[in-house]
């Protein structure tokens, strides 16, 4: 691939809104697009936006969207030169990136080595620390006895967190707020670590209370150039699932912005990174930030960065993968206004965000100035049970944060999805909540402030309107009366034309 030459045809190994996002970029670049679909996705809208569509297997992800062999065979068969993985599924699989390389296909993303290195969270933190990227104090120091623990805790300063070295999922974790609590907590954590993981080693790290989740978008080409596109504020989460993102963060001033951007570029260089990626940080209440992990792929929330920078991240991913040099230097990146994204999940925010599945009876998307919708569902579509519940994203831009939020309120009020419950009412609540409007929130925001129960009114339609509609529908559905009045009215308006029978 000579520098400058783009691909003729690219396969997108994904489904739903992100597949459509990539197809759109390919279409704008004049590159042919190949879509794939599982047996459960025959009627998914992403097929309609691809130049070609291939069935790759059963409904279960392992049989289709995670089926490396099948995807690569399809790409070869269709004559593709490259594969874009989207996010999720195989996007952070170093095996897949390697398999693409081995098959002579360009993987639109970082090298298998970078993916692998960043995939091991402890290893990633070690690389970052060695390169001078700030990491949470203590996080890499395993201790086995109380004397070591005491010494380290004193260095770091309380409160601290004890974690099983081999652990995960909260087991063996203890918060320690003072020297007095340490002995007892250390003993318990140690014995839990032993019993759950067979390894009593404990990590001690600084406890970051009520942190914010801030991430930085970076772009790196194959020629050693790395730039960042500013930060995204992603603190509105529940169960580690982001719900609302924005750029810029209301908690970051221009000096911190410069520092965190520089740290992200340093991190990308340390990871020997190429293509688009995201460096995630946690930030304490004082504005200190620490490397958390690196996402070696396109993020769900990339549109907020696109809106404020005017840079198309997906098109840049494809150009970088084709060997092109970055088109911008850091100095050429500028930020305008404020953008915000609300993720629309097929979940019921009045019922503990339980999945709400079924057939979507009607969809009307928001439109108009500075509103972007990334969506793949349509009236009559049945959301399949096998995949992620994200059905759409609404992104708005405004000259400032207040305008972006006002526009989001307007967009959400236009958004109609009937037949299933969605997170739209949750977002409408947040967009009027004084804490959110003041920028005063952290990752505990939803637990602290949001009470979603079925008594809360979802929207504002008076129930009388529904009663009226039900009664009129009942009257108009009556069988024909003797004067023929009801029936003829029904016929007047029913314009649906059925195909006549042609058979003989």
């Amino acid at each position: 691939m000579t520098e400058g030459k783009l691909f003729k045809k690219v396969l997108v190994a994904n489904r739903g809104e992100i597949a459509i996002r990539v197809f759109r970029a390919l279409s704008e670049m004049g590159i042919g697009s190949v879509g794939v679909y599982s047996e459960a996705d025959r009627l998914s809208a992403h097929l309609k936006y691809a130049d070609e569509a291939y069935l790759i297997g059963g409904a279960a992800p392992s049989e289709s969207y995670l089926n490396i062999e099948r995807i690569i065979a399809t790409a070869k068969k269709a004559g593709c030169e490259a594969i874009h993985p989207g996010y999720g599924f195989l996007a952070e699989s170093h095996e897949f990136a390697k398999a693409c390389e081995d098959a002579g296909l360009v993987f639109i993303g970082p090298s298998p080595e970078s993916i692998k290195a960043m995939g091991f969270k402890t290893k990633a933190k070690k690389i970052m620390k060695d390169s001078g990227v700030p990491v949470i104090p203590g996080c890499l120091a395993g201790v086995t006895d109380i004397q070591q623990a005491e010494k380290l805790a004193a260095e770091i300063g309380y409160p601290i967190m004890l974690k099983a070295s081999a652990g995960g999922g909260g087991k063996g974790m203890r918060i320690v707020r003072s020297r007095e609590e340490l002995d007892q907590a250390f003993r318990t954590a140690r014995s839990e670590a032993e019993s759950y993981f067979g390894n009593p080693e404990i990590f001690i790290e600084k406890l970051i209370e009520r942190p914010r989740h801030i991430e930085v978008q970076i772009l790196a080409d194959n020629h050693g150039n790395v730039i960042h596109l500013g930060e995204r504020e992603c603190s509105i989460q529940r169960r580690y699932q982001k719900l609302i993102e924005e750029s810029p963060s209301p908690a970051i001033d221009s000096e911190t912005r410069k520092q965190i951007g520089a740290a992200a570029v340093l991190a990308a260089k340390a990871a020997n990174y190429r293509n688009a990626g995201t460096v995630e940080f946690i930030m304490d209440q004082k504005g200190n930030f620490y490397f958390l992990e690196m996402n070696t792929r396109l993020q769900v929330e990339h549109p907020v960065t696109e809106f404020v920078t005017g840079i198309d991240i997906v098109i840049n991913q494809i150009k970088i993968a084709a060997g092109r040099r970055l088109e911008y230097t850091q100095d050429e990146i500028s930020w305008r206004g404020s953008a915000i994204e609300c993720r629309i999940y097929a979940e019921d925010p009045m019922n503990d965000f339980l999945p709400s599945l079924g057939r979507i009876k009607r969809v009307r998307n928001p439109e108009g100035p500075w509103v972007r919708v990334e969506n793949y569902v349509y009236s009559g579509y049945e959301v399949p049970v096998y995949y992620d519940p994200l059905i759409a994203k609404v992104i708005t831009w405004g000259a400032d944060r207040k305008s972006a939020i006002a526009r989001m309120r307007r967009a959400l009020s236009e958004y109609i999805i009937e037949g299933i419950e969605t997170t739209i009412p949750f977002h409408m609540w947040v967009m009027r909540d004084p804490h959110f409007l003041a920028g005063d929130f952290d990752t505990s925001y939803i637990d602290r402030h949001y009470v979603g129960d079925s008594r809360r009114k979802r929207r504002k339609t008076p129930p009388e309107v529904a009663v009226i509609a039900a009664c009129i529908s009942a009257i108009e559905s009556q069988p024909q009366k003797k004067d023929g009045h009801s029936r003829s009215r029904w016929r007047d308006v029913s314009r649906r034309e059925a195909a006549r029978s042609w058979a003989r």
Partner: protein, 169 residues
Amino acid sequence: MIYYARLKDSEHEVEVDRSGDTYRVVIDGKPYVVDAKLLDGPTTMSLIVDNKCYEVAVTNSGSVMHVATGGEEFEIELKSQLEYHRKASAGDEPEGTSEEIKAPMPGVVVSVEVTEGQVIEPSAPVVIVEAMKMQNEISSLSGGRVKSVLVKPGDVVDSRQTLVVIDRA
């Protein structure tokens, strides 16, 4: 025409008369003038009520009408005058002696936690159903003896499909 409409937490007497596209509707004595245009048969319509325009879809499952408008859905049980009085005199049905535990959403059965004949407590989990990468415990309300188990791990179940039947304690 007089109807009785029951919503989740209210019940209303409704009188409806039509002349042309205009309906006179009186709900619990309060009158509304409604301009209604049917868009696609009687199930989709544009209403103007109190100078506000609504697009409404009405569907029907069993004895309940689902009225969707503005992204919100109302469940309304509608009875004619005759039905209403017939029902009122018949009184309530007795509570059943068995509980059908149904799937609250479509999904894939991950595991079944009970076996036939087993006696379980109220709120005991009976089946775990996975939908969209989330696992959800489905529990018995009443508790009792498991009469029949109708699903097995790997089954794809529809919303409201019966999973397990319990003989009430």
